[in-house]
């Protein structure tokens, strides 16, 4: 399914967080959303999930409107969010965290297979299946958070700064997994701070600054430091 944002406007009280953002994410592609802090990247993802006040514009999934729907209904429509800071349930076990992810599943049955696919993608969490999720390391928790989103078998995957606070080796694991997820046909919208890696991985990357889309970069721009820096300060 294709996710489309059309002139999206997010406003918190008197503050405009996102101004007139338009983008599209099609199945089998990763679209990056990068930019400085406070640019409105997280707000965009929250708006899609119905968790931020939308003041204008449209959000559609294959043409069907998502705007104004409750968070749980957006999730049940096939959009999964991996929130910033992981937001896993520390007091529940890894297994229970994954079971929670099943809440948005649209197909009856097949849960065990979905679990298997997640474990194959992130072998480390299989070993910790019965452990309390709070005992996992940051990198393991991030993998759990992505797995939890995947077991719902969504069509669209949103990620909010998955590499935040992770060691470079784990970032590799996560980004490799994202490539595999893209290959399996999902539409992926990736919000990130690590501009270079994101631009290199994504099919295209939009630079957001002060709520507005400034520039769109392709993987070929990944090595062009000047262009990247310039985009951030545009």
């Amino acid at each position: 399914m294709t996710l489309t944002l059309d002139a999206l406007h997010v406003r918190y009280g008197a503050v405009d967080a996102v101004r007139g953002l338009s983008l599209e994410v099609k199945p089998g592609e990763i679209v990056g959303l990068i930019g400085p802090n406070g640019a409105g990247k997280s707000s965009t993802l929250h708006a899609i999930m119905g968790a931020a006040p939308v003041a204008g514009g449209r959000i559609t999934l294959d043409g069907r409107p998502l705007r104004g729907r409750r968070s749980e209904d957006v999730a049940r429509a096939g959009v999964a969010l991996v929130p910033e800071g992981r937001r896993i349930f520390a007091e529940l076990t890894v297994e229970e965290n994954l079971r929670l992810g099943l809440a948005a599943r649209r197909k009856a049955g097949g849960a065990e297979e979905a679990f298997e696919r997640a474990f194959t993608l992130f072998p480390v969490i299989r070993d910790f299946r019965r452990r309390q999720a709070g005992g996992l390391s940051g990198g393991q928790q991030q993998q759990l958070a992505i797995a939890r989103a995947l077991v719902a078998e969504p069509d669209v995957l949103l990620l909010d700064e998955p590499s935040l606070g992770l060691a470079p080796r784990i970032v590799d694991v996560v980004f490799d997994a994202l490539a595999a997820i893209r290959a399996s046909g999902l539409a992926v919208l990736l919000v990130e701070q690590r501009a270079q890696r994101t631009v290199a991985l994504a099919d295209r990357s939009h630079v957001l600054s002060n709520g507005e889309l400034r520039l769109t970069l392709g993987p070929e721009d990944a090595g062009d430091t000047e262009k990247l820096v310039g985009a951030y300060f545009a």
């Binding site: 929130p83 937001r87 948005a104 599943r105 989103a149 719902a152």
Partner: protein, 297 residues
């Protein structure tokens, strides 16, 4: 100080009943962050239903059914009319609102049944003693404990083995993220309210055996004491809250029965002084792992 087996049995059974009440209050707090001051009135409504049933000479099973029907209906009404519109308000505002609802319901009962109340004679046979090895223990004490254990066990199964239970636990920890994962807010809240109401009905039945006189202030003092126990145990988590309820019930029953009246008069003061102490020093409760910071509350 006189301690008999009956005293201990009474204390344990009161502890059990208070544990059930604590669960009822704790479940709703977990998902709604709302302390339902009017929980006692649900129990009162159930007790009046039993009283009416015995007045109309209904058979026991019909009375029990009526009790459940009334309590569940009232509980649902509270949720739709009061809890839902108040969602998102501060916990203090919600406390005041449920305080108002409690008074409201009490006054309706006063209007309807008068201050003298009614008698519920449903299961009075349980108020008679068994004689075990020369010791008298009232049947209701044993039954109350068994019923409590059964209910808690069933609840535990619900929370751990079913998706609804998992969703309720997750919602109590982090409602926003749960919803982002697809957990349906209304369904979770509705389930918590349902189970909470169910427990209130059970408590109504158990209490009317020992206290068949049902007045508009039935279970009011008990609710206040249970609230204290829940705060002491730990409002945020189901197990500590239940333990808190049990402990306070056991302590009240034990000291109330064992101490002579002139010494047990000030029990309430000690209890509430302890509540204040806990709120100052360990706001998350005595039985929780991180008694620490006041943020949760």
């Amino acid at each position: 100080m006189t301690v008999t087996w009956q005293t201990i049995a009474d204390a344990v059974s009161l502890g059990g009943i208070y544990a059930l009440m604590a669960v009822g209050i704790g479940l709703v707090f977990g998902v709604l962050r709302l302390v339902n001051f009017a929980y006692g009135q649900l129990i009162m409504a159930g007790a009046f239903a039993l009283a009416l049933a015995s007045q109309w000479n209904w058979p026991l099973w019909a009375g029990i059914l009526l009790c459940f029907a009334v309590v569940l209906a009232l509980s649902e009404a509270m949720d739709q009319l009061v809890f839902r519109p108040l969602r998102g308000q501060t916990p203090a505002v919600m406390l005041v609102a449920t305080f108002a609802v409690a008074f409201l319901l009490q006054s309706i009962a006063l209007l309807w049944f008068g201050a003298l109340g009614k008698i519920a004679t449903s299961v009075s046979s349980l108020n008679t003693p068994w004689v075990i090895g020369g010791v008298d223990i009232r049947k209701i004490s044993v039954v109350a404990v068994l019923v409590t254990l059964a209910c808690l066990f069933a609840l535990q199964l619900l929370l751990v083995r079913t998706s609804v239970g998992l969703h309720m636990r997750a919602a109590a920890m982090d409602f926003t993220t749960s919803r982002l994962l697809g957990v349906r807010a209304n369904r979770v809240i509705g389930s918590a309210v349902l189970v909470s109401g169910f427990f209130a009905a059970v408590v109504a039945i158990l209490l009317t055996v020992q206290f068949p006189l049902v007045t508009p202030s039935f279970a009011l003092q008990d609710t206040i004491v249970v609230l204290a126990g829940v705060v002491l145990g730990g409002l945020n988590r189901p197990v500590p809250a239940t333990l808190g309820g049990f402990t306070i019930g056991f302590a009240s029953g034990f000291l109330g029965g064992a101490l002579p009246t002139n010494q047990s008069q000030y029990l309430d003061s000690f209890l509430f002084a302890a509540v204040i102490l806990v709120l100052l020093v360990r706001p998350n409760g005595l039985f929780t792992r991180h008694g620490g910071s006041a943020e949760r509350l």
